[in-house]
Every structure is written in C-alpha cells, then in structure tokens.
C-alpha cells in the first residue's frame, strides 16, 4: 500500500478528493496505437484535441509519416497512469515528423527516437508537470543514433537529465526552443555537425552542454555551433540521480564544453550563473577513470567570440568549485578553462598547436581564467591576450531531406 493510501484511510475519504485515481483512456490508446501500427508512407496520424491519460507507451516504427496534434497546449498525452514502457512515445523509422502535441509525466523518457534519418520535432512539449524531481524521467526530447534532425519551437521542462538531448547523431539543428527546469537544458553528446541556436535556456541546473563521453559505440563530438542563444540563470539545484554524468554538472553552469572538438560559440547572451557562465574542460576534471582506449578526453579547437556575458560566479555550487574559488577569487570569471591539453600533441616548445587552441576574442568585457589544472593551479592565467586567436568558422549544418 502506498503511503498516500494509508494517509487517506486514516484521514477519511474527504481528505483524498484532491488526488483522485487517474483512469487511463483505453479507447484513445487503442485508436491511436492502431493508427500508428497501420500507418503507411505518406500518412498523417492525427491526434485530437484534449488531454488523454495513457497507461502504456505509444510506439511508432513506420517511415515517412507525420504524427500531428492540435497544439502543444491543446493535445496532451499524459502518462501519469503509466504501467508499462520505458518512454512515453517511442519512435523509429526514417523521415518522421512530430508536431503540435505534448507528452507529460512519462515514467522514463518522454519521447525517444532511435536510429531515424530525417526527423523533425516541431512545436512539441515534453514536460514533467510537478517540476524538478529526481523521480522524473531522464530525457524530454531524445533522438539517439539519428541523422538529419531538426528540433524547433519545442519546449522541455523538468527532465531529470536533459530537456532536449541529442546523442550519437549527425547533422542536427536545435533552434528556437525553450528548455527550463531540467537538470541540463540542451545537450549534444557524441554527435557531429550540430547547431544549437536561438534557444531560450533558463532555470535549469546547467544550460547548454556539449559533451563527448567514453564507452559509447559512436565516439567523437565535432563540429558544433552554439550561437544566438539566451542562456540565463540556470541556477536550480542539480536533481539528477547520482551516478549519472550530468549529476556532476555544478548548479549554476551556463554553457559547458567537455571533451568536444571543433566547437564555435558566438553571439550568445550568457548571464547570471551562480557558478560559471561558460566553461571549457577536459573529461579528466570529473576524475573518473578512463578505460576506453579509443576515447579522446580533450576539448580542442574551441572558438568563443562575440558573446555577451553578464553577472554570475558569485555563489559557486559544489565543494570542488568552492575550493577553486579560494585560488581564483570571487566572483568566478565568465569563461573558465581547466588548461588540460593533450601532451602528446604539444609542439617542441611545449605550446598547443595553433589549430587545436582555445581561441577567445570580442566578448565585451568578459573575464577569464585558465586555472592550469595540470600543474596544480601553479600558473593561473587571466590574460585573454594569451588566447587571442581565431579558428575558421565551423560550417553550418546542412540537413538532407528536411525543409
């Protein structure tokens, strides 16, 4: 018996009227799931207006279809009665468009798309309605092993890992979305040719993450453009389940690049993050053992320019960061660099080759620190002149087969 049931029994029936048992809408499930199973190339599976309570996953495997509702606030698939399935909506197949509906309160991920080539997610909302909670599902919008992906006009709220996450994918555009109250707002992980632009990323624990992680079949995170985003006060507590990588992201992190290569970040407004507005680090800062021989833990060819930074660094979260503050001083600077480089690639004079450097220029009055982590913070460097260089622009993403 659940505690709430016990409480109801003790307090009498009236005490429980506010939390009625949710009854699944079985007819809706049968109708929509049957449509999804019968869907053939060119079909549009229409979702009606209304809020529909489901007790199991909806699954789609057809190619060349559209699943369309009446609007992200008018067609709501609520999984609050979910008994079965690791996600709310599970999608496979190529050339799939999802638009104008919401998935709420899935027990696992809200919408997971696996192995799709040609995926559009437009004006879709993924939300856990109770707000931040460790018991929420991990990912809101979750394409993995996909190619040619466009996510635009979407909203992700409350994910216990990442609101909008793309993993092990290639050719991805994430633009004009809103991500809030997730552990991480938007993350690109082990993906290539990714554009993250014009998004509003606020009130998460971490704003935008560009990661490359070990032990995954698809290695490397290359060619990411992060621009024109508004990344502000991502300062809520990190509520990720412990053990997950994202649980290591300190609350109050704006933009974080870890172990990724070829990242260009420009024209973003990054403001008021209690720990760090922007950080570029190696996977080694996590102090986790690396046992994957193919893995490259270094962030290389990172280019930061024409961003606007404001506020922040005044109330760092996490013990390690607090210790760091003792060395660096408070508030922490806008742009943080751990200084960890691949020693095997250094030039004869010990410098980082031009094409692998961290380059920073034209960011207004942004403050900076290279903490020189490899030498136990021996030569902390705040002089941006040492990083005044530029890389050729990362090429814009071309999506094949998507308008």
């Amino acid at each position: 018996m659940r505690p709430s049931t016990v409480l109801c029994a003790l307090l009498g029936a009236t005490a429980c009227r506010t939390t009625p048992a949710v009854k699944p809408d079985t007819d809706f499930y049968r109708r929509v799931q049957a449509d999804l199973i019968r869907a053939k190339a060119g079909d549009v599976v229409e979702l009606p207006e209304g809020k529909f309570v489901l007790d199991r996953s909806l699954t789609s495997v057809a190619s060349d279809i559209t699943i369309r509702g009446k609007g992200m606030d008018r067609t709501i698939l609520s999984f609050q009665a979910q008994e079965q399935g690791a996600e709310g909506l599970s999608v496979k197949g190529d050339h799939v468009t999802l638009e104008d509906f919401a998935v709420e309160d899935a027990r696992g991920d809200a919408i997971k798309i696996t192995g799709s080539d040609g995926l559009v997610i437009r004006r879709v909302r993924a939300e856990w309605t109770r707000g931040p909670d460790t018991g929420n599902g991990a990912y809101g919008l979750y394409p993995v092993n996909c190619r040619n992906v466009l996510i635009e006009g979407a909203v992700a709220i409350g994910a216990s890992d990442t609101g909008i996450y793309v993993g092990q994918s290639q050719n991805v555009v994430i633009r004009g979305n809103k991500a809030m109250k997730n552990v991480a707002g938007i993350e690109s992980e082990n993906s290539k040719q990714v554009e993250i632009s014009d998004n509003d990323v606020t009130d998460n624990a971490g704003g935008i993450l560009v990661f490359d992680l070990p032990d995954l079949p698809v290695q490397g995170s290359q060619g990411t453009r992060v621009f024109d985003n508004r990344v502000a006060h991502n300062n809520i507590d990190n509520f990720a389940p412990s053990g997950n990588i994202v649980a290591s992201v300190p609350s109050g992190t704006g933009v974080l690049v870890m172990a990724a290569d070829d990242v260009e970040m420009f024209r973003n407004t990054v403001s008021d993050h209690r720990t760090l507005n922007m950080a570029v680090v190696s996977f080694q800062v996590l102090q986790r053992p690396i046992k994957d021989a193919r893995y490259d833990p270094f962030s290389e060819r990172i280019h930061v320019h024409h961003n606007t930074f404001k506020g922040g660094g005044n109330d760092p979260a996490g013990l390690l960061i607090k210790v760091l503050t003792l060395k660096v001083g408070s508030p922490l600077p806008d742009i943080f660099y751990d200084g960890i480089v691949n020693k095997q690639k250094l030039a004869a004079d010990g410098s980082v080759p031009e094409d692998l450097r961290l380059c920073i220029h034209d960011n207004g009055d942004a403050s900076f620190v290279d903490v020189d982590a490899p030498h136990d913070f021996a030569r902390i460097d705040r002089d941006l002149a040492h990083f005044a260089c530029a890389h050729p622009p990362v090429a814009p993403v071309t999506l094949a087969g998507i308008q």
């Binding site: 499930y29 799931q33 199973i37 699954t59 690791a86 696996t114 460790t134 032990d215 053990g243 990588i245």
Partner: protein
C-alpha cells in the same frame, strides 16, 4: 472417445482450479495455411497451426515444437514454441546468427498461465520481411483474435501485458529490421533437439554437434558463469548487442562476448537516468552485486527503471539471483 477427451479437458480445467476453463481451440484447417502478405488472418485458427484436440494445443503435421536452452523470462508464463516452414525448405545453420529461415516460415509462441492461454504471437516471414502478429485468446480458449494494439490482461495477481505489434520490434530488431531472436545455434542446442531437426530435414548445414555452440540449460547444473551468461544472452542481448535496438548503450551481452567492458564490468551508465540507481557508478562492479546497476534494473518493476523494458511486470527473482551470483564471483575492482 470424443466424449472421453472432452471430459478429460473439463477435468484438467477443474484440476487447475481456474475460472477460465479452457475448451479445445476452434476447429480450423487440418493443415497449415501459409500467408506471406496482407491481409493477415483475423483468427489464429485460420493459420491451421494447431489441432482442435483438447485443452492443450496440438500442433498440426509439419508444425515443429521446440525449446530453447535458457528462455526469456515473461512473468512466469509457460510457453509453447513452434516453427513451420514450407515443404521442401529448411533453416540454414549459422554458428553465430539466427538461422536463416525461408519466406513463408511461421514461428509461434503461445503464452499461458496455469491452464489458461493468454496470447499466441506469430512471427511470419512474409514477402516483404518478417511481420509480428499478436493473437489474443478469448476467455475459454476456443479462439485467438488478431489484436495489433495488444492488451493488458489481469492474470494471477498481475496486469499481464500483451505487447502491441510495433513493440515486438522493440526486441525483435537487428539493423532496424524485424527478425526472430531465439533460433540461434546456442539456444536451440538442447539435448537431442538439433539432431531431431536434422532428421526431419528442418535444418541444413549442421556441423558435428560437438562444434555447435551451446547456451547453458536454465535450471541445469552447469557453473554460475555459464548459466548467468546464457541468461543475459537470452534476456538482454537481443537489444544489447552491436546491431540490436539498444546498441547506443555500448553493451554487448551476447554469450560470445569476452571483453569485460562490453559486459558492463566497470562501465559507467550513459543515458540511464533513474535506471542508474542510487549512488551506483557502474553496470557491473566485480564482487559487488549490491553496487551494480545491472541487477538493480533487473529487480525493478518501475517502467522507467526496469530491464528488460518490455515483457515483464514482475521481477524474475531467480534470474536476478543468478546474475548477482555471477557478479559476486567476478574478480577485480573498478577504481
């Protein structure tokens, strides 16, 4: 004689003490009626796989029942597995992959609890690839009807879930295509079974049996490692293998895998979310099942945590115990 059979059927039903006395299945054709394209038969009887004999299903001529070494756990359901192939055709032996099966092949798996049949899943090798067709039995066991959206059926004390046709692909997938799972050399290599298949002409290319790989028999007396690895192979590897639907997780739980990292040993979770478990850092921590994510997810019944994701609503305590025993006797450490 007929009356005797009927009485026996009733007696069996009563002996099982169930509220769903099972009559014999409705009489269908006496030979298999293959279909390789739509429309698929609305009723299971139209396939002619089973004879209307008594409360149990009796396969018609040419329908070959088979068993696997270590089965997939499905809420303690009993399973009857059969294979039918067009006359003059056979399965092509393969040491590592699922046997190649000819177009027209019909695989069936009937799930029952006590004496009550719940569902029969067909995998049919059609002209355009494999198709999954779930048939749901009526309460008295006379007929099963195609139910592509699946069902939730109260049985014993659980809500038994019949998966929908799309969910079949959640497990039955290699390189994005729907395929059978269990018909591998190591799973079919039970005492006498493959030799019988060869005698019946159901398999070609079978090498001498001592060269055929073999999964440990579930409930048999082999060592913990062999039994646990067979269990992971049968219950996890259909997704957790390089061409399976969970390839992105980076595990390969097939019996043939030897690299510890691919078995989860000291491998951190990546996208596990709540599945990572409280304070757990690795899928498998040698010697420490209580700190290992893999058995944690095997024991969970929370849809957002449990593994496998589909196909069970209760914990397979014996399976989890076996995997924990295996982890306990692994040597090494992760830090």
């Amino acid at each position: 004689m007929r009356r005797g059979v009927a009485l026996a059927a009733v007696a069996v039903a009563f002996a099982a003490g169930c509220q769903h006395p099972q009559r014999g299945p409705r009489a269908g054709p006496e030979r298999v009626q293959p279909h390789t394209s739509e429309p698929w038969p609305e009723h299971l009887s139209e396939w002619g796989l089973f004879r209307a004999a008594d409360a149990t299903l009796e396969p018609n001529p040419g329908v070959l029942p088979y068993d696997v070494a270590t089965p997939l756990f499905s809420d303690y359901a009993n399973k009857l597995r059969t294979v039918w192939m067009p006359e003059g055709t056979s399965a092509q032996y393969d040491a590592a992959q699922v046997f190649a099966l000819p177009v027209g092949t019909i695989l069936s798996k009937t799930f029952s609890f006590d004496a009550r049949r719940i569902e029969t899943r067909l995998l049919v090798h059609g002209e355009r690839g494999w198709v999954a067709l779930p048939y749901l039995w009526d309460a008295d066991g006379t007929e099963a009807t195609l139910e592509i959206v699946g069902a939730i059926v109260p049985v014993r004390s659980i809500h038994y879930v019949v998966p929908n046709a799309n969910q079949c692909q959640g497990c039955h997938e290699q390189d994005k295509a729907l395929v059978p799972i269990g018909l591998t050399a190591r799973q079919l290599n039970r005492p006498g079974q493959l030799a019988r298949w060869e005698r019946l002409g159901a398999v070609t290319g079978l090498p001498p049996l001592e060269q055929v790989p073999q999964n440990a028999l579930w409930g048999g007396g082999e060592g913990v490692e062999r039994r646990a690895r067979a269990y992971l192979d049968a219950n996890c590897a259909h997704c957790h293998s390089p061409r399976g639907p969970a390839a992105s997780a980076g595990l390969d739980l097939r019996s043939s895998t030897s690299e510890p990292r691919l078995l989860g040993v000291c491998k951190p979770p990546v996208a596990a979310g709540r599945g990572a478990g409280p304070g757990m850092l690795y899928d498998v921590v040698p010697g420490r099942p209580e700190a290992s994510i893999l058995p944690y997810r095997m024991r969970s019944t929370d849809p957002g945590v449990m593994m496998p994701e589909l196909g069970r609503t209760v914990t397979h305590a014996e399976g989890a115990q076996l995997v924990e025993d295996w982890i306990r006797q692994l040597a090494g450490r992760c830090d």
